[in-house]
């Protein structure tokens, strides 16, 4: 009994398969299992939307010294469900001059992209939709489907704000994909594999401690990828109303919303998997059933960090946003990648390698911060923003 609970989820899966086997032929069991896993994983963005919207409103509310939703259910936890029902009964409007098929396809595509990400995310040992040996690249490739969906939405809406929003999204996604891939490449290099399961197994020390540069770069690039503040100029309400989905209403808007929160949750889960040790934690090897718990806790912590940043940071301008990607993140992650590649070939014990990696990373952070500080000073002088000089 204790053994069963120790590895509860995997054993549950085995029992389920055995039960199906007792009355179904082999191919049918495979199909049923794939369907069940697929449906569970596709539900992830929806679950993320229902829970994280409530969490976000509570967290941001506290940051802004408000209470947040508190009317529907205890602490307002059913607020998200009320909003979802409201969204379902709203009228569906398609603007005149919209490219109808493309307009209708875009929300489906964007939600599909958000759901597909979950296929390779490991929730615990042996708990992954598909342990692809190219899992890490798969994550990036699937993320790029979002770009296409956004362009389709922006263009098909026949609305200038939507189009400008789509342009901004694409510029942002393309620029931040580069540091993202470079930081992921460093992870694949240390782990020696691109399978997400393998990456987690390889993390005797969370990679965030070995390569803070890669972690920070991934974190920043990830929050840019999901378009959250301070990178939310894609939907800056004061400039372009709501960006690429301004013309959508009802459930079609809902799909964009689900994709946004699904991606937020997925990006946090990927950051956890690649840099924070995934499902590893105390006793996770003896009691694998603890894995999903650690995984969810770490993911929620990353989500909280993203919300915290959203609640405190002002929005970037587009030139600042692009400049930060190309002039800061790309050189820093490139330097990290080169450094890690060199260190991994050094004939020294693993512990020394780890210390050298961390040392090099801290140096990269120091150099980047110094140069950023100098640039800020120069900017302030050029624009007469220095408090000392303007006071005179």
């Amino acid at each position: 009994m204790f053994d069963y609970i120790r590895n509860f989820f995997v054993n549950l899966g085995t029992s389920w398969t055995n039960w199906l086997n007792s009355f179904l032929p082999e191919p049918a069991v495979t199909v049923v299992n794939f369907l069940v896993i697929g449906i569970i994983l596709v539900m992830m963005p929806v679950i993320a939307t229902l829970t994280l919207t409530w969490m976000e409103r509570k967290v941001i509310g506290r940051i802004q010294n408000r209470i947040g939703p508190n009317r529907v259910g205890p602490w307002g936890i059913f607020q998200a469900i009320a909003d979802a029902v409201k969204m379902l009964v709203k009228e569906d409007i398609v603007p005149d001059g919209a490219d109808r098929p493309v307009f209708n396809l875009a929300p489906i595509l964007i939600a599909a992209g958000a759901a597909l990400l979950w296929a390779v995310i490991p929730f615990g040992r042996g708990m992954v939709g598909a342990d692809l040996n190219i899992g890490v690249i798969y994550l990036v490739a699937v993320g790029s489907i979002t770009t296409v969906a956004v362009i389709m939405a922006g263009w098909a809406s026949n609305n200038k704000f939507a189009l400008i929003g789509a342009f901004r999204v694409v510029a942002q996604l393309l620029s931040y994909e580069v540091p993202m891939i470079l930081s992921i490449a460093a992870v694949a290099l240390i782990a020696g594999t691109m399978s997400t399961m393998g990456v987690v197994e390889a993390q005797q020390v969370p990679f965030a401690l070995l390569m803070p540069v890669a972690f920070i770069a991934y974190f920043v690039a990830g929050s840019a990828e999901v378009g959250r503040a301070p990178f939310d100029l894609l939907e800056a309400d004061s400039e372009i109303v709501a960006g690429y989905f301004v013309e959508y209403s009802g459930l079609k808007f809902g799909w964009f919303y689900i994709a946004e929160y699904g991606n937020l949750f997925a990006i946090s889960a990927i950051a956890t998997t690649l840099f924070l040790g995934g499902w590893r934690g105390p006793f996770s090897h003896e009691v694998p059933a603890l894995g999903p718990l650690y995984f969810i806790i770490k993911t929620i912590l990353v989500v909280f960090l993203l919300m915290w940043i959203r609640g405190t940071w002002p929005r970037f301008r587009i030139d600042q946003m692009l400049g930060f990607a190309w002039k800061v993140l790309v050189p820093a992650t490139l330097a990290n990648l080169l450094w890690v590649a060199v260190i991994l070939k050094l004939p020294v014990p693993q512990l020394v390698q780890w210390v050298l990696m961390l040392g090099g990373n801290l140096l990269i952070i120091f150099i980047a911060a110094t140069m950023l500080g100098r640039a800020a000073k120069r900017y302030a002088e050029a624009h007469n923003l220095n408090p000392a000089s303007s006071a005179v």
């Binding site: 490219d99 493309v102 040996n133 490739a141 790029s144 362009i151 342009f167 393309l174 691109m194």
Partner: protein, 165 residues
């Protein structure tokens, strides 16, 4: 089963490829092109080349199609549905396309393709094999491709740079 999948995926690829060149709206042709790329990625998966399939999606769908759509949206006049479909150079282009087609067919019919099923390397090994091959026997082509890309990038920067007056 595999045969059926192959037929379906190739049909999707071919039909969408045909629609790329026949659709009136340039933006929609770009979308059909994306579907074609997905079809090709599907064919790669059928051939057990998962890495190529993902690279296909990452590079062609994620980057190249996006740039194509950008170019379409930023060019003046091409979005007009009443614009002429052909300009004066269509004969020349058709000639070159025909020559290229003949060339490709000639190559394809002459290469001794391996038609029997060889034991393909396991996918995990396949990636490592690919990586090793790229930096050992194929290091020169690999480096030449990188130099080409750098040259293209420098060229683009020079073309796009603002003139300092």
């Amino acid at each position: 089963m595999q045969q059926l999948m192959f037929i379906v995926i190739s049909a999707v690829t071919l039909i969408s490829a045909a629609l790329v060149v026949t659709t009136r709206s340039l933006f929609r042709s770009a979308l059909w092109l994306i579907l074609t790329f997905f079809g090709i990625a599907g064919l790669f998966i059928l051939l057990h080349a998962e890495f190529l399939a993902i690279a296909q999606i990452l590079i062609y769908v994620g980057a190249i199609s996006t740039l194509i759509i950008f170019a379409i949206m930023l060019s003046r006049g091409v979005m007009d549905p009443n614009a002429r479909r052909f300009n004066d150079q269509w004969g020349l282009v058709a000639g070159f396309a025909a020559v290229f087609f003949v060339l490709l067919t000639a190559i394809m019919t002459r290469v001794p393709w391996q038609t029997t099923m060889a034991p393909a390397p396991m996918a995990a090994e396949a990636i490592q094999l690919l990586g090793r091959e790229l930096v050992t026997p194929y290091a020169i082509p690999f480096e030449v491709a990188s130099v080409l890309l750098v040259v293209a990038m420098i060229g683009a920067i020079i073309v796009a740079r603002e003139r300092e007056s």
